[in-house]
């Protein structure tokens, strides 16, 4: 997937987290988490607030110690090593830039700690300032920078140390949308340019999907699903993941038929055909998940799918959300692209709705 995965040392995970558990008093922040993060990968930890993302990142960085379990960085057990003995660097949620130092001094800090020579430091700082496009800001004080510039200083300060693993704790959370999208591009560009392993913590599904090679979706201190963005998006393994990523219809019913990975769900007397996630028995209660944009709206004259009546049409900028009531009284939402002359359906229209069986996932409830 990435040039560096074929370089020397391939085969050993950049970070290996093994059965890590962490408690704070009553709270179990991490509950037996295991993970293998590949070299050069852009990996995201995605989950709602309080699910333990930061705690996991802080354990990898050495700021917290796991109650049990192990963390290996480049194959070496880092045990209770303090942060200053690890080849990781962190970009903190609130940046934590040194207010008494200039931009250049902030960036040079890590190199000075490693006793790199002055000329080497100047060269590296100059290079990294160019990479984050802050060439002319080296002499500025931190409080003379805009939010996006501070962000890039924080990124530069970590990256200049050429860490094996870069840890990013919701680094873009404080920025407005415009700036965040811009920083997404920059992060991607920098990741490609540097080739080290990035671990990003975020609660923003769009961020995780657009940036990552792989995503671990977390909930309540556990990893719920791990896979590529496309995997997780189109094949969520449970209702939590489906709900957390994108927008989906949830149709509750019972399993009418199930084979190895195909199945049918009966709800309101109607059959929904799709693929199954996990082993399902005929007759057991189950839920079908169908993404809004995977539900197609066809003219009433069509023969495919189910007949339905349009109940609502809502404009969502680049798309329309059409709510229909299908056979059996089931309400479904479809997201369709808006065309220049507006949407073709209107309130009260009789239509048919259809989906490809591989887009509909039947889950154990």
């Amino acid at each position: 997937m990435n040039a560096s995965s074929t370089s020397a040392g391939a085969g050993v995970s950049a970070v290996s987290v093994q059965h890590v558990t962490k408690r704070f008093n009553e709270t179990t922040a991490l509950d037996g988490v295991s993970l293998e993060i590949r070299r050069g990968e852009f990996f995201s930890l995605l989950g709602p607030s309080g699910c333990g993302k930061t705690t996991l990142l802080r354990i990898i960085g050495g700021f917290e110690e796991a109650d049990s379990g192990e963390v290996l960085i480049a194959g070496r057990n880092v045990g209770a090593d303090p942060p200053y003995r690890r080849r990781t660097n962190m970009i903190f949620q609130h940046l934590a830039l040194f207010p008494h130092l200039t931009v250049s001094e902030n960036i040079a800090f890590g190199l000075e700690m490693k006793k790199v020579s002055r000329t080497e430091i100047d060269r590296k700082v100059g290079d990294i300032l160019k990479l984050v496009r802050l060439e002319d800001y080296g002499k500025r004080k931190i409080d003379e920078l805009s939010g996006g510039q501070k962000q890039r200083v924080a990124i530069a300060r970590a990256l200049v140390n050429e860490p094996e693993v870069l840890l990013l704790d919701e680094p873009l959370g404080a920025l407005d949308l415009q700036l965040r999208l811009q920083m997404h591009d920059e992060l991607k560009r920098i990741h490609r340019a540097i080739g080290s392993t990035f671990i990003l913590v975020t609660h923003d599904q769009t961020e995780a999907i657009t940036l990552s090679d792989r995503i671990a979706v977390m909930n309540a201190g556990q990893i719920v699903q791990l896979g590529t963005p496309a995997d997780i998006y189109s094949r969520p393994i449970n209702r939590f993941v489906a709900n957390f990523i994108g927008h989906a219809n949830f149709i509750d019913g019972e399993v009418a038929a199930a084979s190895e990975n195909k199945g049918e769900l009966r709800a309101g007397g109607v059959i929904f055909a799709g693929r199954t996630a996990g082993a399902l028995r005929s007759g057991q209660p189950a839920t079908a998940v169908l993404r809004y944009e995977h539900l197609r709206i066809l003219p009433a004259s069509s023969s495919a799918g189910l007949s339905a009546v349009v109940e609502d049409v809502a404009f969502h900028g680049s798309s329309f959300r059409v709510t229909v009531r299908a056979e059996g009284g089931i309400r479904l939402v479809s997201e369709i692209a808006g065309s220049e002359d507006g949407v073709q359906v209107k309130l009260g229209d009789a239509v048919r709705v259809d989906w490809r069986p591989e887009s509909l996932t039947i889950l154990d409830q």
Binding site: F63, N89, M90, F98, P99, F109, D143, R157, A158
Partner: protein
């Protein structure tokens, strides 16, 4: 100059004493009348006594008291008699050493307390404040039964068999004055330093550690520089107070460690020479003021060297 330095240093905003002085300056440009009470206060408690002293210092002293007759004799006496100049020199030396010692004692305490957890922090602060609820004079007297010939320390030394007869170099010398002054002014050094340490973002320490700094290097490169405004503020106050120390050198010092205030006091109380006393006070004030100007220009230099703004 000093105040200007403080007000430009972003971390001083919440410091006591210092910030309190720069705030009215800034506000002055808006509504001058808002300053009226402060100006009245300043006039009543600062300008009037100093002006009175200044006038008195030019009066003539006679055997029966002072006469409103202009003379420069008082200042001639001060600059003519080596005893006065050497007293001033000693005062400045004692004040400087006291400031340094107080800093060395207070800084680690402030650092430890500021890094303590909630409950321990409150307890530690309570114990630091506790002695200061009694009078300064009582706190100075306290050292007599501690350092004296039959005092607690001699008692312990004898009990532990370290000495056979009580030692008498514990008190009535400059060393004892330092003990008393450091103890007396501890809080004024501790508080501003503690404040600047306490409000530091602890994430900065994590960031330093993340970037490869050991705890010691984190201290020198991050914690200490960010606490310098507190250090300057504490040093300023302690130096100022120590220059005017009276009770402590009187009680604990010997004849050779008397300070300017003792000499000045004796002019008022014993010699009944208010004119010379006033002239001495004015001279001390000018010297202290000069020290501050020197110090603050040095601080300005320090600021330039450390790459801070302006």
């Amino acid at each position: 100059m000093l105040l200007e330095y403080y007000s430009t240093y972003r971390n001083t905003r919440k410091l006591p004493f210092v910030a309190g002085q720069s705030a009215p300056q800034r506000r002055a440009s808006r509504g001058g009348w808002l300053l009226a009470p402060a100006m009245a206060w300043l006039f009543l408690f600062t300008i009037v006594p100093v002006a009175m002293m200044l006038v008195l210092s030019f009066w003539t002293s006679t055997a029966y008291g002072i006469k409103a007759e202009f003379t420069l004799d008082n200042y001639r006496t001060i600059f003519g008699e080596p005893v006065y100049l050497s007293t001033f020199a000693r005062t400045l030396r004692i004040a400087a050493v006291t400031t340094a010692l107080t800093l060395v004692v207070a800084y680690p305490v402030a650092l430890i307390v500021s890094r303590a957890r909630g409950g321990w922090k409150a307890i530690a602060l309570l114990f630091i404040f506790l002695p200061f609820w009694t009078s300064y004079v009582v706190r100075s007297f306290l050292w007599l039964p501690m350092l004296g010939r039959n005092g607690l320390i001699n008692f312990l030394l004898i009990k532990l068999g370290i000495v056979t007869r009580p030692v008498d170099w514990l008190i009535y010398n400059e060393g004892a004055v330092y003990v008393g002054l450091v103890y007396a002014y501890m809080l004024f050094m501790f508080l501003p330093i503690y404040q600047s340490l306490d409000k530091q973002d602890r994430k900065l320490e994590e960031a330093a550690s993340d970037l490869g700094a050991t705890p010691a290097r984190t201290f020198w490169r991050v914690i200490l520089p960010l606490s310098l405004p507190g250090v300057f503020s504490g040093c300023t106050m302690v130096f100022m107070f120590a220059c005017g120390a009276y009770v402590t050198p009187q009680l604990l010092g010997g004849a050779s460690s008397l300070m300017a205030s003792n000499v000045i006091g004796s002019q008022f109380q014993i010699s009944n020479n208010w004119a010379l006393g006033s002239a001495l006070s004015i001279t001390l004030m000018v010297i202290v003021l000069f020290c501050f100007m020197l110090g603050s220009s040095r601080l300005g230099l320090l600021q330039v060297l450390s790459g801070s703004r302006r």
